[in-house]
């Protein structure tokens, strides 16, 4: 297994280099640059020259890129042009927040989606199945910012409730942290649950039609055993694939929810970075997101081998 993990990490390197090169090129192509962003209307040629020298932007492009990559390999993602602060610690502390939100949202979506998916599979083509499928479709078709704004308004008008302001770390002040994170997590979780519900239902029905289910029943197994021991485990693979993809896409995708609930996550950092053309911030954070995304894929692949003995490490994606 270790060889497999090392091989997967090796394939990570070309991807990361590919991403970092493409970000660098795109950042040059986009109109606007960090200096005019910082100076705003005060910009004049003299000020611009000073600032560009201070930020090292007067060096030729390839030199800028190579020096950045040189440090990045050593873990030093450089400093933000705007705030002059070290980027890597900033990414880590923000990643913890986005990761916590993602995990909470994922768990909430599993709690909602998997039982409902099972129920709608068992009670196939009944009204309950219809209702559950409708809820699932609703989850898939509601834009998250509409859902978020609606819930904020509803809670604050009707229940006079608004999550406490000012983010607190999970370990620093757990009570306040959970109060802040629970609402956005529920909203993200509800939206994620739509597709998981549909996937659970279809893959469970697929498994229930297999021959070995008949054998198990012929052995005298109760429906509970048939479902929870055998059917669910066999249905797990496509569900885990979907969850892996969802968690991956959430890492950058929570930017809308983070913005509405003003949670200092990674998505928002990238968005501000792009707006301010703060190249090291954008480069560092997207590379980190890509790295975590591939790590999650590796974990999902490893989970496969634990669930299904037929899948061995030589089988690729």
């Amino acid at each position: 297994m270790r060889a497999y993990i090392i091989r997967r990490f090796l394939t990570l390197i070309p991807i990361l280099i590919g991403i970092s090169l493409s970000i660098f090129l795109i950042m040059q192509l986009i109109p606007g640059d960090v200096v005019s962003g910082m100076l705003g209307i005060e910009a004049n040629p003299e000020l611009r020259a000073n600032l560009e020298k201070k930020l090292g932007l007067d060096r030729p492009l390839h030199e800028q890129y190579l020096s950045w990559i040189g440090n990045a390999v050593k873990g030093d993602f450089g400093k933000s042009f705007r705030t002059d602060k070290e980027i890597f610690p900033e990414i880590l502390s923000r990643f913890k927040i986005t990761f916590q939100l993602t995990v909470m949202a994922a768990v909430i979506s599993w709690i909602i989606a998997i039982p409902l998916g099972i129920i709608s599979a068992l009670k196939r083509n009944t009204i309950i199945d219809g209702i559950v499928r409708f809820i699932a479709l609703l989850g898939v078709s509601v834009p998250n910012f509409a859902f978020a704004t609606l819930s904020i308004l509803f809670l604050s008008k009707v229940f006079k409730y608004y999550p406490p302001v000012g983010y607190a770390g999970l370990f620093a002040d757990p009570a306040k942290n959970l109060k802040i994170m629970i609402l956005p997590a529920i909203i993200l979780g509800a939206i994620m649950s739509g597709s998981i519900m549909r996937m659970t239902r279809s893959s469970l029905l697929e498994v229930m039609r297999q021959d070995f289910i008949k054998t198990i029943r012929a052995k005298g197994a109760s429906e509970k055993v048939v479902l929870f021991v055998h059917a669910l485990k066999n249905a797990l693979i496509p569900i885990i694939t979907l969850i892996g993809m969802q968690i991956g896409s959430l890492l950058g995708g929570t930017v809308v929810t983070e913005q509405i609930f003003s949670i200092p996550g990674l998505g928002q950092m990238v968005l501000t970075g792009i707006n301010q053309r703060d190249f090291p911030v954008v480069q560092g954070s997207i590379l980190f997101i890509a790295f975590v995304y591939v790590v999650i894929n590796i974990i999902v692949d490893i989970l496969y081998t634990y669930i299904d003995p037929r899948i061995t490490f030589k089988v690729g994606r």
Binding site: I19, I30, R133, P143, F145, A146, I286
Partner: protein, 286 residues
Amino acid sequence: MDWFKTLIKEIAKVIKGLLKDKVGRIGLIGVLIVIVLALGAPMIATHDVTEMFAKSKLKPPSGDFLFGTDDFGRDVFSRIIFGARVSLKVGIISVGISATSGFILGILAGYYEGKTDGIIMGIMDVLFAFPSILLALFIVSVLGPNLTNTMIAIGIVSTPVFTRTVRASVISVKSMEYITSAKSIGLSSIRIILKHVAPNILAPFTVQATLALSSAILTEASLSFLGLGIQPPNPSWGSMLSDSRKYMELAPWLAIAPSAFIIGTILSFNLLGDSLRDVLDPKFKL
């Protein structure tokens, strides 16, 4: 010309199958309504989409303004109707882009494996690793913010999902006997792909297409929320919804109308996708 006739016959059969299934019926009707709205927009709309009635700003739904007016005093009903045109166009063209490129790349990667598979999937990994909203943001800010660029951006963003779906089905279809038998009688690989592999991955492909249509509309809405979607004053459901957020309390009809239509359209596409999957692939009859 016979393949054309078979195609028509095939489509007729699919539609008949859809109508039989309750879910399919609802989906089909929903989609048809949206198409009719989009095509017949000029006839249906009651006002000019950009006309500003300064004295009737933020008015609730009434006789002459069926869905009320927005903060510029423009008629929401007409904007919704024309919005159908935009959202449908965004959906269809962006899915067109991602479906075709995903189809070709997926088949190449799935069928040829080895180096081609490695390279194509490597690029797809790079695109996958980029969070979709941010990738779209990049493309739109490089090409400039207008509707066509939004469509291209959404198209590129959803290509990897298509490629992966197509590749997965090609690999599973490839291992089946009839492909090896086709190879054994010396068919050239292109013919095998077109004649045998392609038709058989149609079912998961069409399902993926309907899902991509709904996510395209959602992505357009999120892009508008981040201020990068369609250019004012032309309306799209996404931009109307994101603009309405400020007035959700003062003028809720501004948010209700677009969200209802967005949810309705996506619901119909997904229902259509579900029953299409059953019709196209009897094995899936659940």
